[in-house]
Every structure is written in structure tokens, then in C-alpha cells.
């Protein structure tokens, strides 16, 4: 029950820094909620790690996962509130810091907010946190009255003694409850008794986003703060040979011209614009190394070689697919590819850092506070206990902010200017060319088909990058990257294949490049779903079968996969007449991040080859639905992200560097192209699946299959901007 005060040293440090330096812009820190500055005051002890209740009944719920627009804050609050029996209107939330968690033996569990796991992997302990707090509040009231706790109930932040009707508000007993020993047994409600979970509570954080008052990392201002704008060698792995400091040092506002590690430079100035202007003028001699020879063509050649390589890591195998295909009277083969993608969150990378020889404090948007702390400590040259991460809400994440290359550089910059708050801000151009990209892969799919048109064997050879080998090489399994096979696994409750083939081989020829890959919303599902779902469509058309009927035959042992597929088929009217203007209809399904999803799309393609997506229906079985409206928003949002990649997204490589430098060359879907989205949320109970990502993976294959139905053109290489969709 110790008060959370370990951000106080950093605040003192800041005030000291303010006295030492010039106050440029006034003090502009986000409110406590966003900063996660611990307990609201020492006078209000927490009931437990998750729950603080003020004497006036205000309820503060603590958050370890980060909010980046996906609604996790509201969903987690719903789960705590479900068991806490508190007044929803009195709820606010605050971030805890990883430093606080470190000091309390990870009292708040994991901070990682990725893999669609903010809800599903917190649900058990946050609900128990709420339930334990309720039990303690009821016990405190019962003790006050001298009655058995079993005679008392709690509702809307009020404890009632049944026999006498006496009541006490949570705010009146919270201080007593805080002194009690937490209960050993914390039973949770049966889902059938939920009243807060599975309701569409409005988000807790909308208002500030409509007035411009929400403070993001790039909005932070501190007394004496300077702004750093960095530039890393545009060729990954390149280094600084020489910096002509005179080319920028005398420009207005410039305070420092720095080298950052081996491979980056930064200009530090009074304002962003001054720093950026000077950085643009700064002459740097880069040593790009041998990576300067790499291009999209050389990468493609390497991947193509892998399609037929003798050695590959096996992801899923039953029977003897090669023999079955070899013996089949008919063989079907196709090669697909999927390019690099940039996360391109609307808010470019940024972090504000104060470094001294004794301490390093960081204010930043991150998807993983604990990883940010570890990265900071290492870069700062300090123990984690002398560092902390004060989180602000993210201006988008999508996976980019689970890794902290940008933060490490920000710390290395601040370390060169001790005691001064340094806000490091990337330009959009830096964000585009220094990304961590969706991996590049190709796949060759080969099916053996018998005289009845049935698949006798399927071989899916994936060739391309491994994320784990770049990000977590220790997680490789004897060299094999299991994440490559998302959605294709034979077993498991996360990303299992939804079909049974008599003979199957899915394998991966790992072909890495110097372009750093990373988790990108949907991750490897994005291409795996395109590869498998479009190829099955090819088989269906080549054998004269209905694509839905073919899938159903293969899905008899996969009832939950089939459930969502049937749901979208029924909603879109599969098999019925197409609505006026619609020329083709496509369908796809996949399981990922613990959820089952399917999509059906209606499209048309005009004589100029311009695609119009008229309608998309999406179904999600996520086991339990915490907030149906939030799920709907995630489905819509995932489609925008997935369709942006399908229509426009591709990062290409020339002379070792990414060619796309801003939204003019890395275009994304806008309002005029946004289709109508109908969301079917169909939680079947008994498991917790994610919702932030899963539906993204079925958007592209459903549309590609619909394009084929409309035009007879099978698109195997995306994005569509580079393809001619006109009818053959």
C-alpha cells in the first residue's frame, strides 16, 4: 500500500532544470491521467494496485496497457468496474509507470499493448483486482456496522446492509478498506451475470480529442526544453563518416549539432521548425556500406530463389503433400507476393527525455512501457531503478511503438545535454524511411487435384523475411520463426488453420534483408490470408466449384471458423443476385489473435480499371465481447488499414534506402474510397479473443476474390495501384 511517489524525483529535477535554463514556452505537461503520475495524493491510499477511491467517491482505475485509439482504456475500466460494482459516471483512469511496477514486483502485469492482447491477456487479473477491492470495501463497511459481510451488498459505489437498510458510500469506507488484508479467494462473476461487460459504454477519453486539449507526446512542453530533430543514415546499417557542423550550427535557434551513436545526427534548437530547417541544411557524409547495393529487384530475386529452395522450416504438415501432388492427375500452381509496408501512425515518433548522471526520465507514447524502460536504462547507462517512463496517449501505434529505436536515439541525444529537457521529434520523412516494416514475402502454392475436382494435396511455400530473427532472435526455434505461420498452424488457440487437407505441407524458406521487419497490425496474417484464401478461390474457379461450397467441404472439423464464414455469407446474400452496380462478390476467413473472423465484399471495376468497393460485411467471434461498439470501430478501422495496404501500400528499396518519403508517395485510403462496413459481432463464449487486428487479414483477400469474380483477373501482387484491373 505504499504511495506511488517515485516520479517525484523527476519532477523535482524538472523544476531544478527550469531554474537553470530559460523558460521558453511555459509549462505544458499533460494531466495526471495521461502522465500516470501515481496516486492522486498521499492522502488517498489505494484500495489495491488497480483501484483508488477518493472520499468524494471518485474512482481512479490504474492502467498498465497503453491507449492508442483502440479503446483498451475503456474496455479495461469496464472489466474492473464489472466486479467493483462502482458508479460508472465517477470513473477516471491513470497510467502507472513501469518504474512503479518494477518497484512492486510487477503488480500490474504486462505493459505490452500489441498482438490484440490488451484485453484478453489482462482480463483475469484486472477483474480480480476489481473484485478484491469490492470485497475489501464491503468488509470495511461491515466492520464499521459490526455485522457479517455476508449480509452486505455493493452496487453503484454504495454498500448496503440488507437487514437494516443502512448504507455507506465507497468514499466513506475506502480508507478503512485500504488497511485490510486482500482476500485470498476472489471469485469472479459468471458471464451471464455481467452488466458492464458486453455493453457499449461510451469511451472515457473522447472529449479531449474533440477540443484539441489532449496532450500527445509531440505536444509536451517543459521549462527550458529544447527540440531535437534527428536523421539516421537513410540506408539501414549505414554510419556517419563526417558531419559538416558549420553548415547548420549558425542557423537561427540552433543550440547543438550532434552525432547520435554511429549512424545518426541531430540538430537541437529552440523550436522544431528551427531544428528541422537546420537539419535540412546540415551536410552529412554517410558511409552506406554494402547495403547501398540492395534494391527491390535484388530482394525479389532472393525471395524467388527461396520459393524452390530445397531447405525450409516446416510450419504445418500432414500426410505427404509432395507425393499426393505428384500423383494427382491435375496440378494448379500460383505465385503471390506481399510488399513492405510502413506503419505510418499519424503522430511521428517522439520522446521527451531528461538525462542526468543520476537519473533519466522519459515522457513518450509507447506500446510497451516496460520495454521502453529497459531501452532507456541501457541507453542512459543507468539502472532501471533510476529511470522511468511517463506515458502519454499514442497518436497511433499499429505495432511501430512496440520497438524503441526512436527512444534510444532520443536518450542518446539528451545524454549529451545533461539536465535539459529534450523533445526529440521525427519528421514524417524520417518516419517513412526509418520505419520497421511489414515483412516482405512471396509464396508459391501448389495443389494436386483429382478427377472429381477435389484437392488431394496442398503445398504452400513461403519465402521471405522473419520478424523474430530481427526482433527477438532468442525466440527462434532451432532457427525456425513460428510467427511466420500465423493463421496456418495445425493446433493452438491463437491462429489455427481453418481447413483440413488430406495432405498438407506449409513451409518457410527464410530470406532476410537489411530492411528491418516488425509487427505491423495483423502481422503475418496479412499475407498468409491473401495467399491461402485467394489460392483456394483459384482452385474453386478452376474446378468449377462455388468458393463458399469448396471451403465448407474443407471446414467440417473447424466449426468456429465455419461459423463466421457462414455469417458473412448469409448477411451479404451469397448465392443470390448481385445488387445493381455490383459486379463481383468475394469471401475469406481466417483465425488470428484468438478470434475467428470472416469477410465478404461486393465490388465493381469500371472500364478504366477503377475499383469500387460497395460493401464489406465482417464477422468476428472473439469469445467474449467487452464493448461491442468498440469492436465495431476496430473492425472498421482495421479495414481502412488493410485496404490502404491493398490499394496503395508498398515501400520499395533503391540503393539500399526506402523510396517512399511521405503520404504523397505512400498514399492511404481516404473517405471517398471508404466502403460501407457492416460488422457482425458474434461472441460464442468460453474464450477471450483479440479484436484490434483480426479482421484486417480478411479485408484484402475478400476484395481480391471479388475483383476476380468481377473481372476474371487474378491479382497476385499488391498493391492494386500498380495493377491493371481492366477486364482481359
Amino acid at each position: 500500500m505504499a504511495p506511488l511517489d517515485n516520479v517525484a524525483p523527476s519532477r523535482r529535477l524538472l523544476l531544478k532544470g527550469a531554474a537553470a535554463g530559460a523558460v521558453l514556452f511555459g509549462f505544458h505537461l499533460p494531466p495526471k491521467q495521461a502522465l500516470g503520475q501515481g496516486a492522486p495524493s498521499a492522502q488517498v491510499p489505494e484500495v489495491n494496485a488497480w483501484v483508488v477511491i477518493h472520499p468524494d467517491d471518485r474512482v481512479v482505475l490504474r492502467m498498465a496497457r497503453s491507449e492508442m485509439g483502440q479503446g483498451t482504456r475503456t474496455g479495461l475500466a469496464q472489466m474492473i468496474a464489472e466486479e467493483l460494482h462502482c458508479d460508472w459516471s465517477k470513473i477516471s483512469t491513470e497510467y502507472v509507470t513501469p518504474g512503479q511496477s518494477l518497484a512492486r514486483n510487477r503488480a500490474w502485469g504486462a505493459f505490452l499493448t500489441a498482438g490484440s492482447q490488451g484485453i484478453r491477456n489482462s482480463q483475469d487479473y484486472v477483474r480480480k483486482g476489481g473484485a478484491a477491492a469490492r470485497i475489501m470495501l464491503v468488509a470495511a463497511a461491515a466492520t464499521r456496522w459490526g455485522v457479517p459481510a455476508a449480509e452486505c451488498t455493493a452496487k453503484d459505489s454504495v454498500v448496503t446492509h440488507g437487514p437494516t437498510g443502512r448504507t455507506l458510500r465507497y468514499g466513506e469506507v475506502a480508507a478503512d478498506a485500504a488497511k485490510l488484508t486482500p482476500p485470498a479467494e476472489v471469485p469472479l462473476k459468471d458471464p451471464s451475470d455481467w452488466t458492464v461487460i458486453n455493453t457499449s459504454k461510451p469511451r472515457l477519453d473522447t472529449a479531449a480529442k474533440t477540443t484539441g486539449s489532449l496532450i500527445y507526446g509531440s505536444d509536451l512542453k517543459m521549462p527550458g526544453m529544447l527540440v531535437a530533430v534527428p536523421r539516421r543514415c537513410p540506408v539501414f546499417g549505414g554510419t556517419v563518416r563526417a558531419i559538416d557542423r558549420a553548415s547548420a550550427a549558425a542557423l537561427p535557434g540552433v543550440r547543438h549539432v550532434l552525432q547520435v551513436g554511429d549512424g545518426a545526427v541531430a540538430v537541437v534548437a529552440d523550436t522544431f521548425w528551427q531544428a528541422k530547417t537546420a537539419l535540412d541544411a546540415l551536410k552529412v557524409d554517410w558511409d552506406v556500406g554494402e547495403n547501398g547495393q540492395v534494391s527491390s529487384a535484388t530482394i525479389d530475386a532472393r525471395l524467388t530463389e527461396g520459393l524452390d529452395a530445397a531447405e525450409a522450416f516446416i510450419g504445418n504438415q500432414n500426410g505427404d503433400a509432395r507425393a499426393a501432388i505428384g500423383a494427382a492427375p491435375r496440378k494448379l500452381e500460383a505465385v503471390y507476393s506481399y510488399p513492405f509496408q510502413n506503419h505510418a501512425p499519424m503522430e511521428p515518433m517522439n520522446a521527451t527525455v531528461v538525462w542526468t548522471a543520476e537519473r533519466c526520465d522519459v515522457w513518450c507514447p509507447t506500446q510497451n512501457g516496460e520495454a521502453a524502460l529497459a531501452a532507456t536504462a541501457q541507453a542512459a547507462g543507468l539502472p532501471q531503478q533510476q529511470c522511468d517512463i511517463h506515458r502519454v496517449d499514442l497518436g497511433g501505434g499499429f505495432g511501430r511503438r512496440t520497438t524503441h529505436d526512436w527512444l534510444i536515439d532520443a536518450v542518446l541525444i539528451a545524454k549529451q545535454i545533461p539536465g535539459v529537457p529534450i523533445k526529440t521529434m521525427w519528421t514524417r520523412e524520417e518516419d517513412m524511411v526509418q520505419g520497421r516494416y511489414h515483412p516482405v514475402t512471396k509464396a508459391k502454392l501448389t495443389a494436386g487435384i483429382d478427377a472429381n475436382g477435389e484437392i488431394t494435396g496442398l503445398h504452400m511455400r513461403i519465402s521471405g523475411q522473419s520478424i523474430l530473427s530481427f526482433v527477438f532472435p532468442n525466440a527462434l526455434q532451432a532457427g525456425r520463426d513460428p510467427v511466420v505461420f500465423q493463421g496456418l498452424n495445425p493446433t493452438g488457440n491463437d491462429s489455427r488453420i481453418g481447413y483440413s487437407f488430406p495432405n498438407l505441407l506449409i513451409d518457410h524458406a527464410m530470406r532476410n534483408t537489411h530492411v528491418p521487419p516488425h509487427f505491423w497490425r495483423g502481422v503475418n496474417h496479412n499475407q498468409n490470408a491473401v495467399y491461402l484464401e485467394c489460392f483456394l478461390d483459384e482452385v474453386a474457379h478452376a474446378t468449377g466449384q462455388d468458393p463458399l461450397a469448396l471451403r465448407r467441404k474443407l471446414m467440417a472439423n473447424h466449426p468456429k471458423h465455419l461459423g463466421v464464414l457462414n455469417a458473412v455469407a448469409e448477411r451479404i446474400g451469397w448465392g443470390g443476385p448481385l445488387p445493381e452496380g455490383v459486379q463481383g462478390r468475394g469471401i475469406a476467413q481466417q483465425m488470428g489473435f484468438g478470434s475467428y473472423v470472416a469477410a465478404a465484399a461486393d465490388v465493381s471495376v469500371n472500364d478504366q480499371g477503377v475499383l469500387r468497393i460497395h460493401r464489406i460485411v465482417a464477422a468476428t467471434d472473439c469469445g467474449y465481447a467487452v464493448n461491442p461498439q468498440q469492436i465495431q470501430m476496430q473492425v472498421e478501422g482495421s479495414f481502412v488499414y488493410g485496404l490502404s495496404a491493398l490499394l496503395y501500400g508498398a515501400c520499395t528499396v533503391k540503393d539500399g534506402a526506402i523510396e517512399q518519403t511521405n503520404f504523397d508517395t505512400y498514399n492511404v485510403l481516404r473517405m471517398d474510397e471508404m466502403p460501407k462496413v457492416e460488422t457482425i459481432v458474434m461472441p460464442s463464449g468460453g474464450f477471450w479473443g483479440g479484436v484490434g487486428e483480426p479482421t484486417i487479414m480478411v479485408a484484402a483477400p475478400a476484395v481480391l476474390n471479388a475483383i476476380f469474380a468481377a473481372t476474371g483477373k487474378r491479382i497476385r501482387t499488391v498493391p492494386l495501384k500498380d495493377q491493371d484491373l481492366r477486364r482481359a
Binding site: T206, P345, M633
Partner: protein
């Protein structure tokens, strides 16, 4: 040094005149509700009003402006955050991460001021802002809702 009329008040800002309005607002006027997303007028996160017109402040140098031109930012759109667009946005929970939403709201408010009952096609033309979270369908619904509630600009 620049003299600008921002949210109803003339302010004198110690800023080099080639500086884009976006950065004059954010770093000199202390108005951080207007966001930097691309710097090339491609994304619309920096949208503000000049004399009622939605413009992209990231490519508008301060030198192009004088105090006769009325600049309105998200902070000045309404005195209490209750412009019909803001109200509709809250009622529909339009924002996700929210970073693009100041620009979205300013673009929507300018559209409604000129076209009180916009069609979907009007919205498509006026709203070219980028949202990576994918709030487009709710933005559209929010504009229609604000229009139905009667817009006063």
C-alpha cells in the same frame, strides 16, 4: 516577428516570417491542438480556418498572413467545446487515437458553414484528411448528425 489574429485576439509572435503557420501556432502561440502529420499538405492534421476557409497550416508561411485575416484553431472553434461538430463527435465516439481529429473537425466545420446539408459526395470532396485508425465512416456519420442538428458555423 508576426502579428496574427488568432481565435479572436491579435497576438504578436516572435517568429521568423518564413515559419509555417502550424509551427507558429504550436511553438509560439502555445496552441498544440493543431497537429503536424506530414508537412506537405497531404494529411490535413494541421487544418485551421482562415476567414472561414479550411486551410493546411503546415505549408502556409506566416509571411502570407496579416492581422486582418481571422485564424481559428480547434481551441477557438467554440468557447465551450460545443460546436455542433464537436457535440456530434462526442455523441458518436468518432475519434480513435484522436491525433487527426482536430483537423477532421476543422475541415468538417468549414464544410458545414458553407454547405449546411452536405451530401455524401460533398463530404468526399471536402474531407481529404487522413486517418490511420480508420474513423472515416464515423466522421461521415458525425457530419450528417451535426448537419441535422442545425449548424450555425
Amino acid at each position: 516577428m508576426a502579428k496574427l489574429n488568432v481565435n479572436g485576439a491579435v497576438v504578436e509572435l516572435d517568429v521568423a516570417t518564413e515559419t509555417p503557420l502550424l509551427w507558429a501556432l504550436r511553438d509560439h502561440a502555445g496552441l498544440t491542438g493543431t497537429k503536424y502529420g506530414c508537412g506537405i499538405a497531404a494529411c490535413g492534421a494541421c487544418t485551421v480556418h482562415i476567414d472561414g476557409q479550411a486551410i493546411r497550416s503546415c505549408i502556409t508561411p506566416v509571411s502570407a498572413l496579416d492581422e486582418s485575416q481571422k485564424i481559428v484553431t480547434i481551441e477557438g472553434l467554440s468557447p465551450d467545446g460545443n460546436h455542433p461538430v464537436q457535440v456530434a463527435w462526442r455523441e458518436l465516439d468518432v475519434p480513435q487515437c484522436g491525433f487527426c481529429q482536430s483537423g477532421m473537425i476543422m475541415a468538417a466545420a468549414a464544410l458545414l458553414a458553407q454547405t449546411p446539408r452536405p451530401t455524401d459526395e460533398d463530404i468526399n470532396v471536402a474531407m481529404s484528411n487522413i486517418c490511420r485508425c480508420g474513423t472515416y465512416n464515423r466522421v461521415r456519420a458525425g457530419i450528417h448528425k451535426a448537419a441535422a442538428g442545425g449548424i450555425t458555423g
